[in-house]
């Protein structure tokens, strides 16, 4: 499995799950693909179909409306798949934690492997998170 995990760590294809975000985190994610940060250096590629994905980037507050959809997207992704919560919303619910339509604990919806804190997190923070994920995969 070690050999396979190394291959996986070098080619993480990322799928973007927008679970009712304010779009700030999404813009910062797209920053990662620009010449300044260029995560294709690490083999990371943004894919359009969840069937091709290795990592789901979940942005936004997961409320009652999108929770079943997020769950379904996770089930549609081919395993092994990792889930990264991007931003303050999936991490600590930010300013929406008293809101009436917040879903119960996000761990009951999808198993999140990694959280990136920030509102929105800097691209450097996201690269750091991915490097940690790669480190775990490499053992």
């Amino acid at each position: 499995m070690g050999w396979y995990n190394k291959r996986l760590a070098k080619s993480l294809w990322v799928f973007h799950v927008s679970a009712s975000p304010c779009n700030n985190c999404d813009i910062e994610i797209l920053d990662l693909l620009t010449p300044r940060y260029d995560v294709e250096r690490f083999g990371i590629k943004l894919v359009g179909s969840v069937r091709h994905a290795d990592v789901l980037l979940v942005t936004g507050i997961i409320n009652d409306k999108v929770a079943p959809r997020v769950r379904r997207l996770y089930e549609q992704a081919p395993k092994p798949v990792f889930v990264v919560g991007i931003g303050a919303c999936p991490t600590s619910r930010c300013c929406f934690k008293e809101s009436y339509n917040i879903s119960p604990l996000r761990e009951t919806i999808i198993p999140v492997n990694l959280y990136v804190e920030g509102c929105p997190p800097k691209p450097e923070a996201m690269i750091d998170a991915i490097v940690k994920l790669v480190g775990v995969l490499n053992g």
């Binding site: 294709e40 250096r41 179909s49």
Partner: protein, 309 residues
């Protein structure tokens, strides 16, 4: 004889050689594209990592679809592309014809597009069905100029359809691209090949901004790996075919090897440049472009070839 054939198909000009070279060509594609956008680009063995990673992922079969067709299409496509690679490669590298001529090559390349259509329409997903439909339209658009272009070397080499005969004619009378009809046919052929590979500006079936991933949307794991591998192998097969038809193949000795590598890189980089400097065209624009402009041009090349210019 059988050992030779097995070696041809599975190792040297066939599967192994074409796959490795294709993955490297795919890396060149991504790297040059990245440099076009002032990025650094992926590391050298990125496509190998992608391929082996996809082989180990879960394969998901869609409940509503036709499962056997869904599974069979990428594997049949792989077989088709490997066969074309073998036929073209044996003619180029060892000067033998592997029991097939240019007509078979044209037929197999068309069959590949049909397999993409079948694979795309089998899961019953809306986006992949739309992608399959667009692939049909693209096939209708590019097939006529491609066939006309293939006629030019046939006519110029004295109505011979054997790949080795076309090569032999060029080694005697000079490269076809040096003549008027050959140059015209090469330009049309390059654009038709761009459409046959569904590279930008003709990535109408895949159109990731509107159709997600087109016909390949529902594919995951090893089956997707085979589709990707087919696309990378086409980066070898089509330039080799163009080199064979118009650029006189690879001379086997001395500086000829270097010259052959340069020919291949030149055609590949030309394709990548076209890919990176053009936005996607609409379906009707693509069909109009091929039928109104390129087909008459290719027909003119055929007429010139008959006249012997």
């Amino acid at each position: 004889m059988i050992v030779q054939a097995v070696f041809d198909v599975f190792i040297f000009p066939g599967v192994l050689f074409t796959a490795v070279l294709g993955l490297m060509a795919g890396w060149l594609d991504r790297k040059v594209s990245a440099r076009f956008q002032y990025r650094v680009g992926p590391p050298l063995f990125q496509n190998f990592n992608d391929f082996f990673k996809l082989l180990g992922k879960e394969t998901i079969l869609v409940k509503s679809g036709v499962s056997w067709l869904f599974v069979a299409a990428p594997l049949a496509g792989f077989a088709v592309i490997s066969l074309v690679a073998t036929v073209v490669g044996t003619a180029l590298f060892s000067g033998r014809s592997a029991g097939a001529d240019l007509i078979v090559v044209m037929y197999l390349l068309m069959l590949y597009s049909v397999l993409v259509v079948l694979g795309g329409s089998s899961p019953g997903n809306v986006f992949s069905s739309l992608g399959a439909g667009r692939e049909v339209k693209l096939l209708l658009a590019d097939e006529l100029p491609f066939i006309l272009v293939c006629l030019v070397p046939i006519i110029r080499s004295g109505y011979q359809i054997k790949l080795t005969a076309i090569l032999a004619h060029q080694s005697e009378h000079g490269l076809l691209v040096g003549s008027v009809s050959g140059a015209l046919a090469f330009v049309v052929g390059l654009l038709a090949v761009q459409a046959k590979m569904a590279l930008p500006p003709f990535h109408i079936p895949e159109a990731e901004t509107e159709l997600v991933a087109g016909p390949f949307m529902e594919y995951s794991g090893p089956l997707l790996a085979f589709w990707k591998l087919n696309q990378f192998m086409m980066l070898v097969v089509f330039p080799f075919l163009l080199i064979l038809l118009f650029w006189g193949g690879f001379p086997p000795a001395g500086l000829g090897v270097l010259w052959g590598v340069l020919k291949y890189l030149l055609i590949l980089v030309l394709m990548i440049i076209i890919k990176n400097t053009n936005p996607r065209v609409r379906t009707d624009t693509a069909i109009a472009f091929f039928w109104k402009y390129l087909s008459p041009l290719a027909l003119a090349a055929v007429v010139l070839a008959v006249l012997g210019v």
